[in-house]
Symmetry: C2
Subunit: 238 residues, 2 copies
């Protein structure tokens, strides 16, 4: 079995010494009952896996010594963002968990006109991301952006692809351009209710490209997994 993973901030590492505190400390010592001498992989979101050994545990932090630094090669060669309309908890959990496995770096939850579910909490989303990340061996902990209104998710320095159920000309494969390494690509997947014509117009005006996921109607979480999986399959190199 692979070693357990913990996520810290870059400033928590000084030389060969890592300090784990807060929730990750509680998970390490309270839930997993780590003792001095246990080994772990620690990540600081820079793409490095730090193989480390627990040297000291006190009441609010654990200190680990780095044994080895390994570059984690599992990250996609560009920044991938999922913009996801809020859906019910269990489905959102599946959507976010799979998105993390597939390799997203940023998750931007949004509320749009036909979003029925609006009481999802930011901290809950962050917990789902953290758990998925620990399980799938990522070196980078995807960032959950604050829940936004649909009209506020577009920014000029990202490229947007939006799954739209009425798009009948272009599949994702027809519109994908391979991102360069500094680029941020955002896939926009609606809630179960889809998008209003005004929202589609707004997305197009903001430079988004709409695409179809085929002739079958997919649930929101399936649409996200299929779109992200297809996008990464079309743009990754081995």
């Amino acid at each position: 079995m692979e070693l357990r993973r913990f996520y810290v901030r870059p400033e928590d590492i000084e030389g060969d010494v890592i300090t784990v505190s807060g929730n990750e400390y509680r998970h390490m010592t309270g839930v997993l009952r780590f003792k001095v001498g246990y080994q772990a992989i620690v990540c600081d979101n820079t793409g490095i896996d730090y193989w480390a050994i627990v040297e000291h545990i006190d009441k609010s932090a654990a200190t680990l010594r780095i044994i080895e630094r390994k570059k984690n090669n599992a990250e996609l060669p560009y920044t991938l963002r999922l913009c996801c309309g809020l859906i019910k908890g269990e489905k959102l959990e599946i959507e976010v968990q799979k998105a993390v496995e597939i390799g997203v770096h940023q998750i931007q939850p949004f509320i749009s006109r036909y979003t029925a579910e609006q009481d999802v909490r930011q901290d809950r989303l962050e917990r789902i991301v953290l758990e998925a990340c620990k399980q799938c061996g990522r070196a980078v902990l995807p960032r959950v952006m604050p829940i936004a209104r649909f009209e506020d998710i577009f920014e000029s320095n990202a490229r947007y692809y939006m799954a739209y159920e009425k798009e009948d000309k272009h599949l994702l494969r027809d519109v994908v351009a391979k991102p360069h390494s500094q680029e941020t690509v955002a896939l926009v997947i609606g809630s179960e209710g889809g998008f209003s014509p005004e929202e589609v117009q707004m997305a197009l005006s903001a430079g988004a490209t709409t695409f179809s996921l085929g002739k079958r109607i997919l649930r929101a979480e399936t649409a996200a997994i299929v779109a992200l999986g297809t996008f990464s399959a079309l743009t990754e190199e081995l």
Copy 2:
């Protein structure tokens, strides 16, 4: 909301009259409490949606009269089979549910060397497929094949693509050939434990093509959803 769907055999339709019996009758009358005059969509696995109205309900069957026949255009233009190693119930449920949404026609569960879960029942798989199918509006009810041993899933008249975690040269996009309409394509996705070298050799000897799903290790159910979604995205036409 779209009308409820029920699945019958072709021989249950005579002229404009459909007889719904068995489990589908119990679902219609017992669970959904259908009455005379209710409308439904009935499918007989021929790709036609029969829009029909309930004319008579007795103790073991309901009789419906066909109002309109519509060709269902949502089916993939070839036969898609998922060969899936058995995994735990909840995960298998997600895998099969999403596979049905994405458009598979056949599901071939298998037990291989590293399969931990072996007590999945055939009827449980069939129930998952039926429920997913009703929810996503398919005209064809995917067939669940009897649970088989891995070495018995290969047959000469299908084309096999197998997700293999040690394949490091070819992504799915590199090996996909567009299927013709009479072809059966099978995507082989292992259990959590992956495949033994002997099993990979057996698959290759049987003509299977191995592919990678990228640099991140996906869970079994995510691998299936991503592989099926990518395959359909690469081979479907709008």
